[in-house]
Chain length 486, copies 2
C-alpha cells in the first residue's frame, strides 16, 4: 500500500536573511500524564527563551512547538522577534513532547506503545499551559498585573496548537496567531481530494498547463516502463537513483518520493531562495515547470527525462548531489516516526487523489489505514474523537482572539479556516503566499500580501493586549504605563 | 491525623413528594483514556434516558453525574423533569466513571493505582462529550438542525462538571446550570476556613448563639474526658456508640463523625422532611439547636448529654436506631473510596477550622495530606494543576451561558461563584436555600428564593435555546417551529 503521510512542517534550514536568534535553553519538569493518575512520572521539557526585549508587565510571546526540534522553529520565525523588539515581549519557544530533545523516556521513548502513547496533541497543550504557569511565576513577580498576557504563535501543526490552546485554555493564553493551521483537514470536515487539487492548481497557474499534463502522464508511463527489468534500470538511471529499482515496492517508493517533492515545491514557493533539504531557488514552481516545458516530452522516455530535469531544481539546485536516495529520512530535523504515530492517533488527515489532479489516483481507505497503524504501533486511530470532540471541529463560534492566516498557494490551506468565524475569530488570506510565510521575518522580496498579513497580526495583537491591560490593571497604572502603548 | 474528607453530594434517599421518575438504562462503550494512546481499552458507561417528552429537534437535558450511583441523582433532580415536560426535551443522566455500576475494570477497578488512576474529572468530562456525540447520532437524525442543543445540569460536584463541560467543550453543550458547584474551593482560590465559618454562622442564625457555644465547648470536654478509661465509657454511653471508645484513634473518629453531622445538618436544612442516611425533619438546624438549648448544659457531662440529645434529630429521628456506628460507611450509595481518591488527585479541597468557628481547631497541612494520599493510593496530589491550569481557576471571563446558583445556607457556597462574571456567566443566590435545593422538584414548602431561582434558570435556558435555534436553522424553519417557543 502506498502510504500518504505528509509532514505539515517544512521550516528546515532556510537560506535566510534572518539574523541568528539567540536564546537561553531551559528545561522544566512536567507531568507525563496531565489527565489521569496511573503514573506519577515527570519529564524534562526543553524550551528556549529570550528576555532581551522584556520589561516588567510586558507580554509573553509563546511559540507552541511543532513536530520537530524546537531550535529549527526558533531560527525560522523572525516575525515574533520583529514584533517583540517593537512591542517589548518575552520570547519563548516550547518544544513538543517526543520531538527534538524532549524525549520523556530518553532513548526508549519510541520503543513501545506504552511509552509512545503519551505523545498526543492534548498532552502537549497541557505541557504548554504548565510551562506558561511557571513563566508567570518566574517573570510575573513584582509586577503590577496578576498574570502577564500571553500571545500564542504557531505555524502549520504548531499553528493548530496555537489555535487550540486558545480554544481549550483561554485563561492561559490571551490570543493566538495560527498560521497555515489546517485544523479542518480531518474526516468529515474537508473532502480528502482538496489538498492535491490545490497543488495542481498552483502548478497550473504559476507553472503551466503543459507542465500539469506532463506530470499527470508520468505516472502511467512509470508504472508501464517499470514492469520490465530493462525499464526499471532505465528509470533508475533517468532519476539518478542511488539504489536501482528492483521490485514493485521500490516503484511505489519512487512514486511517493516524486509526489512528495511536487507537494513540497508548492508548499515552499517563496519569492526568495530557501533551503529545504537541499537549497531551492525563489519561485520554485515556475522554475520547475520551465525546466520541464523546455525539454522535449514527445516520447515516454523523453517525458520522464523532462520530469527528471525539472526535479533537479529541487534535488540538485547546487549541482552537488550525485544520486537520489528515495528511502532516506526526508527531514532529519523533523520527527518522522513521531508524526507517523500522530497521523495514526490524533492527527489523522485523509488525503486522496482523483482525476481532477495531476497525481496518481489514490483512494483514502480508513480501514486499510487503521490496519497499517495497528500493525506498526498497536494503536487504532480514533477518527472522530480528537479533532471533533476534543477540539470542536468546525464549531468554534464561542472562541475569541484568534487569527487564522493562510497562504492560498499552500496545499494545507485546504484544511484551513478561510473565512471569518466571528468578529473575534478572523481569517486573513495571503493569495500569493505559501506555507506560513507570514511568520518569517520581513524580506525585500516579500509580496504585498504577506506584508499586509503581518500588519494585520500586529493590529490584532495590539488590540488584544490593550484590552487585556485595560481590564487587568488599576486605571491609574493603565493610564500611566499602557494607554496608547499598543 | 484527623482527615477532613467531605462529600459534596448529599442527595441520598430523600423523603420526597417527587414522583418516581422512569428511565431506560443504556450503556455506551467509551475509551478508557481520551488523552493518551497507551491503552486501547474501552468500558461500558451507564446512562439513564427518558424520551417521553422529546420530539424531533428538541433539546437534550444532560445531567453530568456526580460521585455516586446515577439512579440516586435521577430520582432527586425533579426540576429537570418539570422543565423537560414543559419545554420538550430528551432527559439523560450519565453516570460518572468509577461510581455506581460504571466500573471500567469491574471488581478490580479499585484494586490498583494503575486501574484507579483513570478516575478523573477530565476523563469523566470527555466521557460525557463522547456520549453526547452518540446521542446526537441517535436522536439528531432526520431533523432540521445539525446538532441538537444540549443543556448541562448538575448539582454539587456534578454542578462543577456541568460548568466545566461548558467551559472546556462549548461546542458540545450550549449552556449549563451549575447548582451549588464549589469550583473555587481550591488552594489559592478560597481561604480554607470559610467552609466551617458558614456552618457556624448558619447554626448561629437559624439555631442560636448558645447552641454554637455549647458545640464549641464540647471538643475540649470530649478530649479531656476521654483521657481516662472511665471517661471513654461514659462518652460511649452518652453517644450510644455501637463500639465503645478504646483509644485515641476512636476518639478522633468520634470527633470527625460529630463534625460531619453538623455539616450535614446545615447542608440539608430544607424546609420539608428529608431522609439523608436516616430521616430528618424539615428545618433540621432549628430542631437540632432547640433540642440542645432545652437541655441543661452546666456541667461537662450535662453538656455532652445536651449535644447527644440534639444529635438524635439526625441519628434517630424515627426512634429506630439502637446504637451509632461511627465507623460505618456514611453513604453507601456514594463512592467513598472513589471520592477519597479524587480528593487526593484532582479535587483537593482544603478545609480548616479556626477560633472563629465552632469546630475543633484544625490546620490544613498540604505535605501531611500529600503523604497520607501517597500511603493510601500511591499518588501525590497535583494541587494546582487541575482546578487552575485545566479549569481556569477564577479566570472564567471568556466562558458563556453558565448559571451558578448557590444557597447561602450551604457551606459549599464558600467555594461557589457568588457574583456575576459577565452578562453571560451569571450567579443567582438563594439566601434561604441549602445544598442544590433548586434542582429538586417544586414543593409546597419551598421558600420564595428557590422558586425565583428555578424561574431564573428557566428564563436563561429559554434564552440560550432560542438563540441556538435562531442561529442554527434556516429562517423559515425557525419562524415556523421555534419562534416564540422559548
Amino acid at each position: 500500500m502506498k502510504l500518504i503521510l505528509l509532514f505539515l512542517t517544512i521550516s528546515v534550514g532556510f537560506i535566510s536573511n534572518e539574523e541568528e536568534y539567540k536564546f537561553i535553553t531551559k528545561y522544566i519538569d512536567v507531568p507525563l500524564d496531565h489527565f489521569s493518575f496511573t503514573v506519577n512520572n515527570t519529564f524534562k521539557l526543553r524550551y528556549l527563551i529570550n528576555d532581551s526585549y522584556f520589561n516588567q508587565d510586558d507580554p509573553i510571546f509563546f511559540y507552541t512547538g511543532n513536530e520537530g526540534d524546537i531550535s529549527m522553529f526558533a531560527q525560522n520565525t523572525g516575525f515574533i522577534f520583529d514584533l517583540a523588539r517593537k512591542l517589548g515581549a518575552l520570547i519563548v519557544f516550547a518544544e513538543h513532547r517526543f520531538y527534538g530533545e524532549t524525549l520523556p523516556f530518553g532513548n526508549a521513548s519510541y520503543s513501545s506503545p506504552q511509552n509512545l502513547g503519551y505523545l498526543s496533541a492534548q498532552q502537549a497543550l497541557a505541557d504548554y499551559v504548565y510551562l506558561i504557569n511557571d513563566l508567570q511565576k518566574q517573570y510575573g513577580k513584582n509586577v503590577d498585573i496578576i498574570k502577564l498576557p500571553v500571545i500564542a504563535f504557531g505555524g502549520s501543526y504548531g499553528g493548530m496548537l496555537a489555535a487550540w490552546i486558545r480554544i481549550k485554555y483561554p485563561y492561559a493564553v490571551t490570543g493566538a496567531i495560527a498560521s497555515s493551521a489546517p485544523i479542518w483537514q480531518f474526516q468529515g470536515l474537508t473532502p480528502c481530494e482538496n489538498f492535491y487539487k490545490i497543488v495542481t492548481d498552483v502548478i497550473r497557474s504559476l507553472g503551466s498547463e503543459s507542465c500539469v499534463n506532463t506530470l499527470t502522464k508520468s505516472w502511467g508511463i512509470l508504472r508501464n516502463l517499470t514492469k520490465t527489468d530493462k525499464g526499471k534500470t532505465d528509470v533508475s538511471n533517468t532519476f539518478k537513483l542511488c539504489q536501482p529499482l528492483k521490485n514493485q515496492n521500490n516503484t511505489d517508493a519512487l512514486l511517493s518520493w516524486l509526489s512528495d517533492i511536487y507537494v513540497n515545491i508548492v508548499m515552499i514557493n517563496y519569492p526568495y531562495p530557501t533551503s529545504f533539504l537541499v537549497p531551492l531557488p525563489g519561485n520554485p514552481v515556475k522554475e520547475f515547470c520551465q525546466a520541464i516545458d523546455s525539454s522535449d516530452s514527445t516520447g515516454d522516455e523523453d517525458l520522464l527525462t523532462a520530469v527528471a530535469k525539472g526535479l533537479e531544481i529541487y534535488t540538485n539546485f547546487t549541482s552537488s548531489v550525485k544520486c537520489n536516495d528515495i528511502l532516506a529520512d526526508p527531514a532529519p530535523n523533523l520527527g518522522y516516526l513521531g508524526w507517523y504515530f500522530q497521523s495514526c492517533t490524533d492527527m489523522i488527515m485523509p488525503i486522496c487523489s482523483t482525476k481532477d489532479d495531476l497525481f496518481e489516483d489514490y483512494q483514502w481507505d480508513f480501514s486499510e489505514f487503521s490496519n497499517s497503524c495497528f500493525k506498526k504501533f498497536s494503536v487504532r486511530p480514533r477518527n472522530e474523537e480528537v479533532p471533533i470532540l476534543e477540539f470542536g471541529g468546525k464549531d468554534i463560534e464561542t472562541a475569541t482572539n484568534i487569527v487564522f492566516s493562510n497562504g492560498l498557494l499552500d496545499p494545507w490551506s485546504s484544511g484551513g479556516v478561510l473565512k471569518n468565524i466571528s468578529s473575534q475569530v478572523v481569517s486573513i488570506l495571503i493569495p500569493d503566499g505559501a506555507h506560513h510565510v507570514d511568520l518569517r521575518s520581513s524580506n525585500p522580496l516579500d509580496n504585498e500580501d504577506v506584508k499586509v498579513a503581518r500588519q494585520f497580526h500586529e493590529i490584532q495583537i495590539k488590540k488584544w493586549l490593550d484590552k487585556y491591560y485595560f481590564h487587568n490593571l488599576p486605571l491609574d497604572v493603565y493610564s500611566e504605563k499602557f494607554k496608547g502603548r499598543f
